[in-house]
């Protein structure tokens, strides 16, 4: 309990968080009285209680708990020891995501990133950081809550579980749960794919003979075989954009990603020949079916170049000239003023430039790496996240060194795939095409090149000085080299924050250690004159 109260006090000290409250439910009368006494003595807790933001319920009947779960944005179970953790399952059944300690049964019930998050035991700072992701984007609670609801009903209802037990005592052998080689996320996706098959058969007019999970981290997809051949099926569900979990964004900047945005991209890229052929779309069921294209096993720099040129050509005339001019002006204003207002104006211009990709929806996009470095410095100064001082110091040091060494590059954005890596390159009837176009974006600088160079975690494998020397060789143009290096830093800095808000402080440390080599690399490559 002390971990949760410490996390509450940390959250109370962070900037750019919406108003929130904590309900503590359960425990006997003595525990309730202890908490009430504590909240009288501790000034911070006393203030939160006075403000009505800390409520100690004591024991609550089962039916009442369902009501509390349903009215909460997130349920926190910071146990230090738990064999199973019924509370987590109950909360998920009520459509409430769960943040629990990475121990015991929680690892069998909470699917990280899909129905909640797991955090290190007794780490108030990690817990606070993970909770910021829920407080800053209520849509995340809705999305994970819906996932958890389906997950529990499919696998933890008393009827199903005790049927298994009945089989056990009847001397039958129940099917193992889960099979040893399946992760929870895989099992969850199997449920989603299985549920989609009848709808898919109606849409395609064919019987699905086989469906294999080919999902990535955020998107559920399947390779299906019908009598007509192979197809790729994307099962689209409304979800919160990733950036909204990390950054404090205004509500109008973070509308949930809807089906129409994804399909708008598919249709646009379809016209350009950059994506595999679209076969069927069903908006009501969120299904996008394309012809199956084989991964390009030999995807190398030539394939990358072909795709990057394709994206650049495709993007030239699709953005309104006024929007482009406003975007350029907004960069100049950020460069001149560096204020929060200037960054907000840039975000609006960036959203306008990208709306053609989003089916007309305006949303936050990261489109200029130097603006992102500046945004990060501002947020770190504001204390938007609960980070150890050494991490803050290193992040600020790297970002401010870069910003003071190099002037802002002012140029028009170009279309980028946004997540270009060998695994996303396909061959469709001899053409080089790309999959996973959900991250495509109009952005400044060689975003795709940086992503390609450092995808799949390869960034750790070599010192930063080597990475920057490689970039020097690949990018002869000085301003593009500056932008490329800035994207590289943004890539690393955002991964630190991503790990932080997902309860993985060790992962954050690893990326932070990588930054140690920045100054040496910057001098060695002439980035800092």
């Amino acid at each position: 309990m002390s971990t949760l109260l410490d996390a509450l006090l940390i959250l109370d000290g962070l900037a750019a968080l919406p108003a929130f409250g904590l309900w503590i439910a359960g425990g006997d009368d003595a525990e309730r009285d202890f908490l009430l006494q504590l909240s009288l003595i501790h000034p911070g807790l006393a203030r939160l209680r006075r403000e009505g933001r800390l409520q100690v319920w004591g024991h609550v009947e089962v039916e009442g708990m369902a009501e509390l779960y349903s009215r909460s944005s997130v349920t926190v179970v910071p146990s230090t020891f738990e064999q199973f953790g019924l509370v987590a399952v109950e909360a998920m059944a009520c459509g409430c995501p769960v943040v629990a300690s990475r121990i015991g049964g929680f690892q069998d019930t909470v699917i990280e990133g899909l129905t909640g998050e797991l955090v290190p035991v007794d780490c108030a700072q990690s817990l606070a950081n993970v909770l910021t992701g829920y407080l800053r984007n209520p849509q995340r609670s809705v999305w994970q809550g819906a996932n958890g609801h389906g997950w529990v009903r499919a696998h933890f209802s008393a009827d199903d579980v005790y049927d298994r037990f009945f089989a056990l005592i009847s001397r039958q052998t129940p099917a193992p749960f889960p099979p040893a080689d399946e992760s929870l996320a895989f099992r969850w996706r199997q449920d989603v794919i299985r549920a989609a098959i009848p709808k898919l058969e109606r849409l395609m007019g064919e019987r699905v003979l086989e469906a294999a999970d080919v999902s990535d981290r955020t998107q559920t997809s399947a390779r299906v075989r019908t009598s007509a051949g192979l197809a790729h099926v994307k099962i689209v569900r409304t979800r919160p954009p990733t950036a909204s979990i990390i950054f404090p964004l205004a509500p109008e900047q973070r509308p949930p990603v809807q089906f129409r945005e994804i399909i708008a991209r598919y249709r646009a890229f379809q016209e350009s020949g950059l994506a595999p052929r679209l076969l069927h779309v069903c908006e009501a069921d969120g299904l996008v079916v394309t012809r199956w294209a084989e991964p390009a096993e030999d995807a190398g720099h030539a394939a990358r170049e072909a795709l990057m040129q394709g994206f650049a050509r495709f993007g030239e005339d699709r953005v309104d000239a006024e929007d482009l001019a406003a975007f350029r002006n907004a960069i100049e204003r950020v460069a001149a003023e560096g204020t929060a207002d200037a960054i907000a104006a840039f975000d609006a211009a960036s959203a306008a430039v990208n709306r053609s990709l989003n089916g007309g929806v305006l949303r936050f996009h990261r489109t200029h790496p130097q603006v992102e470095l500046l945004r990060l410095v501002r947020h770190l100064e504001q204390r938007v996240w609960a980070l150890p001082e050494r991490i803050v110091a290193r992040m600020v040091s790297v970002a401010t060194t870069f910003l003071s060494a190099r002037a802002f590059v002012v140029e028009f954005p170009r279309l980028a795939h946004g997540s270009l890596k060998p695994a996303h390159v396909l061959r469709d009837e001899g053409r080089v095409v790309a999959c996973d176009l959900d991250n495509s974006v109009y952005a400044v600088g060689p975003l795709d090149l940086i992503h390609w160079q450092h995808s799949d975690g390869r960034i750790h494998q070599r010192p930063m000085v080597d990475a920057l020397r490689d970039l020097r060789g690949l990018i002869p143009d000085e301003s593009q080299f500056v932008l490329g290096t800035a994207w590289l830093l943004v890539y690393v800095l955002h991964r630190i924050l991503d790990r932080v808000v997902k309860g993985n402080p060790l992962g954050a440390d690893r990326f932070c250690d990588y930054l140690l080599g920045f100054h040496e690399a910057a001098y060695a490559t002439g980035l800092i004159p």
Partner: protein
């Protein structure tokens, strides 16, 4: 064919007590839900628990298939879980005297945590009944995690040895518990260990409707779940 007769030993907490009252958590409700489910599947169920209040009847019947027996062992009041071991001899003696718990009348004895497991091991010679033991708390793992000998006594650790060698099947409620069991008791035959998670009543724990359309969707989903469950039963009775 006579129905199977399952004796559910849940001595530490009365399975008919609501969750979260006094020193109790909620895991004893597993025995309640399990017993109810077994009765619905046609099994005969006898709950065996400790009488922790004189206001509770010593024996209570629920139709023809279900009975709860509350044995006199220790004071008739709730006690902390780590003090149960003081009354295990009394509990073992009390259950021995109950005719309906004799080996020839019981098909399966299900025990819930080590106290109950030890009573079952004393009541029945090994192999006389099918003993299924729910672990729920592994003493050696807790001791290794730093719990004090006051909370995790030596008697608990010794009892685990006895119970695990007596039980024909051992049920863990999480894969981590299964891994701990295998690590601390490498001599247990892995095929005897089964992972069965705990379940909840999804009629009680459900999303509150956010709008009138939700009520209809929920009714439809429940209807569908009922059909699917009935279909599974029909396929695998």
């Amino acid at each position: 064919m006579a129905p199977i007769h399952v004796a559910l030993f849940c001595l530490t907490d009365d399975p008919f007590e609501p969750a979260g009252h006094g020193p109790r958590g909620g895991s004893h409700k597993v025995m309640f839900d399990l017993g109810r489910h077994l009765v619905r599947r046609g099994a005969r169920v006898t709950f065996v628990t400790r009488r922790d209040s004189l206001e509770k009847p010593a024996t209570q019947d629920f139709g023809e298939l279900c009975r709860i027996i509350r044995v006199a062992a220790g004071p008739p009041q709730p006690i902390p879980y780590y003090r149960y071991e003081l009354y295990l001899d009394e509990a073992a003696l009390a259950v021995t005297a109950i005719p309906e718990l004799q080996a020839r009348r019981v098909t399966t004895a299900v025990s819930y945590n080590w106290n109950s497991g030890l009573v079952v091991a004393r009541l029945y010679p090994r192999g006389a009944v099918d003993h299924v033991h729910y672990v729920l708390a592994l003493g050696r793992a807790r001791r290794a995690a730093g719990e004090s000998p006051e909370k995790v006594s030596d008697a608990w650790l010794q009892a685990e040895d006895t119970v695990f060698s007596h039980a024909s099947r051992i049920v863990t409620c999480s894969t981590s518990e299964r891994a701990e069991l295998a690590a601390f008791y490498p001599s247990i035959d892995a095929s005897c260990i089964h992972y069965v998670p705990l379940g909840i009543d999804t009629e009680v724990f459900d999303r509150r409707p956010r709008n009138p359309g939700d009520l209809v969707r929920r009714s439809a989903a429940r209807f569908q779940e009922g059909i699917e469950h009935a279909s599974r039963r029909a396929a695998d009775p």
